[in-house]
Symmetry: C2
């Protein structure tokens, strides 16, 4: 017999996938350019030329046996060194190459980081709103996910609600900043308070509570600001990163875990991840894409389009009377729907060929996510559709 | 606290890794060309030019957003189609694209295949000798590994011993042909009998026992022969493949699972693997290496060196009086040591700068593995060292 759990999972349709399939089908009817598909978080700007150029150069100049050969269990030493040096320079850290574990994207990074710092049965705390795959990521380790409800005014951390959820089983806290789906950027004040709380709770329960910081949107920041680096605030931090968004290469599956040098067992963690890989079938990220990304570590795609799009949408939503915290980064914005049931709201939007995702899957009921990683020209055309939708469906808002 | 199981695993030193480290250290003393390092299964011939050329062409001609973008959960449709068509042509199968699940190498393939057809607590049968990572692969799923002892005369399947190990908990059987570490190639006779046994046991226990066939060495065959295709013999077969050896690209982590069209739940399996990926942090293999490998699916590196090396070593071992079944493929040979304790035998060999791996880790006590994926020139020079070693240490053999 096949595995019954995975078989049963086939019946759970993904809302995002269904919306995306609807948008594709509708696009065939009326032309895809006329469907305002804000459902998927796929980068819309190409990889920088440097990524292509370094890949071609490696293929043409490196010895194939070396370039395509097995990596050491704990990763390509060149990649580890380049990542450590870049993080040290940018964030005033003291990583050594041995603190870096290259992975297949952020998904691979989180899979390893979670298993490093939890035992089955322990708890991992997440803060709503959060990326819907955190559920399977955490459940896959045997740990239990505990959800802290949303802080509606600014999407920072709801510390009051968190206080009642910490307990002796809390092994780790998983954060994501800049945040998918809200676009919120955790402030220095938030990160300072989080570090204080984790220090206090670790002391109370007699064991270190680790911080896993998922940062694939770190380079997509608005208003010329920089994301404060969470590992700088709390020593027991495993930073998970993906080059998917900064270099627009999500299909190449390249990222890393960086273990803070001040973390408990910092000198053992990466070796432990090498062991964890054996049970996951992981075995390092692909050589060429990982090496090319590391050589491009100071580059990004032209990410300015996301800020342009955000401002267009934010101004329109505000003008139309939506409650909507202004994103500090990412390519997402998450306004409050104009009725309590965000799913009903998003269904009505479909009539105007506007594809939004209800916030329920992100544990943000009543909100909806707009992924504006699309051409600015299309965002501009969508504004009239949003206006028509809201004025027709919610005249008394 | 960090995870105690993975922390404890750091104390278990890998014998192969220790030997390889010894070889590297010794190489620094006397020159690496003078150390006959037969410890590691790393391809020694470069990737074919076609792999480089198609990679460069894809980088230069494909739209970067498409080339490096997210793949669908169940894999790139182009890759799936090319793999299915190639297998159909070569092995007279009837795969459709939907039966193919692209993975990060064979390790990723086995991780998904095992989870698809087992429940935690069930049993997976393996036949000694086998690749030492099968232990962590199976244990990582929550299933239990059951080992059928070696058939010493020819390294085919020991059906008599297997008979007492099947029981109602047997969910799957994991085979590897051509075989690492023995070089054995399962014959049509072996595969026919295996299919009969699996059919009979499935009927007796009232559920399908699945066959997982791990075939990364399928293209490294000797004497102009072809590996019989296991899925052709038994319908409930999940074929796991890696391009690591055929194209000499082990670091690029590209492979697939092919679900036989006649397999129970064949139409659900690949979708289940898409769900399994979520808990493993897998998310498809890297786009560019996977697509390049698929376009090169009819090519291989120049693999003839492995047969040349095998013949040199086989003839020498035979002449020196070793018991050694002749490999039908791979780049391994596994003679019986000249004393009962293969570890002691391999230790003595080190004095002659010969690095062999004792068979214990492969559940082949008393044997040793010789990985001859090295330059033929070096194999030729090693023959004198083997002769000196055997004549000095085992004069009365």
């Amino acid at each position: 017999m096949v595995n019954q759990k995975y078989l049963a999972m086939l019946d759970n349709k993904s809302v995002i996938r269904e919306l995306s399939e609807y948008a594709t089908a509708r696009g065939k009817e009326i032309g895809y350019e006329n469907v305002f598909d804000f459902s998927l978080g796929n980068p819309s700007v190409p990889a920088p030329d440097s990524y292509r150029d370094i890949s071609v150069r490696l293929l043409q100049e490196e010895e194939p046996l070396k370039l395509h050969g097995y990596n050491p269990t704990m990763g390509d030493p060149r990649v580890k060194k380049m990542v450590a040096e870049s993080l040290n320079k940018r964030f005033d850290m003291a990583y050594e190459a041995g603190h870096i574990f290259p992975t297949s994207g952020a998904a691979g990074a989180i899979a390893h980081a979670l298993r490093c710092v939890t035992e089955p049965g322990e708890e991992v705390m997440v803060f709503a709103p959060f990326f819907s795959e955190y559920g399977p990521y955490i459940e896959g380790t045997g740990a239990k996910m505990r959800i802290v409800p949303i802080k509606e005014d600014d999407f920072q951390i709801n510390f009051d609600a968190a206080d009642g959820i910490f307990n002796e089983k809390t092994a780790a806290v998983l954060i994501n900043t800049p945040n998918n789906p809200s676009g919120a950027v955790y402030t220095e004040e938030t990160l300072t308070r989080l570090a204080e709380v984790l220090t206090e709770k670790s002391a109370r329960y007699g064991h270190t509570i680790f911080l896993i910081s998922d940062e694939p949107y770190r380079e997509i920041m608005f208003d010329g600001k920089k994301q404060a680096y969470p590992a700088k605030f709390y020593p027991h931090t495993l930073t998970c990163y993906s080059f998917s968004k900064s270099l627009s290469v999500p299909g190449e599956r390249v990222g890393y875990v960086a273990v803070s040098p001040d973390c408990e067992q910092a000198d053992k963690m990466v070796a432990m991840m090498g062991q964890i890989s054996r049970g996951l079938g992981h075995n390092c990220p692909s050589s060429l894409p990982m090496l090319a990304a590391a050589y491009c570590i100071e580059d990004t795609s032209d990410l300015s389009v996301y800020e342009t799009n955000m401002n267009l949408l934010y101004d329109t939503f505000k003008e139309l009377g939506f409650t909507v915290p202004r994103p500090g980064g990412t390519f997402y914005i998450m306004p409050k729907a104009l009725e309590d049931d965000a799913t009903a709201f998003c269904q009505k939007a479909l009539k105007y060929d506007l594809v939004f995702v209800p916030g329920d899957g992100f544990h943000a009921p009543g909100f909806f996510r707009v992924a504006y990683c699309v051409d600015t020209e299309k965002v501009e055309r969508s504004l009239a559709a949003i206006r028509r939708f809201v004025e027709a469906e919610y005249p008394d808002r």
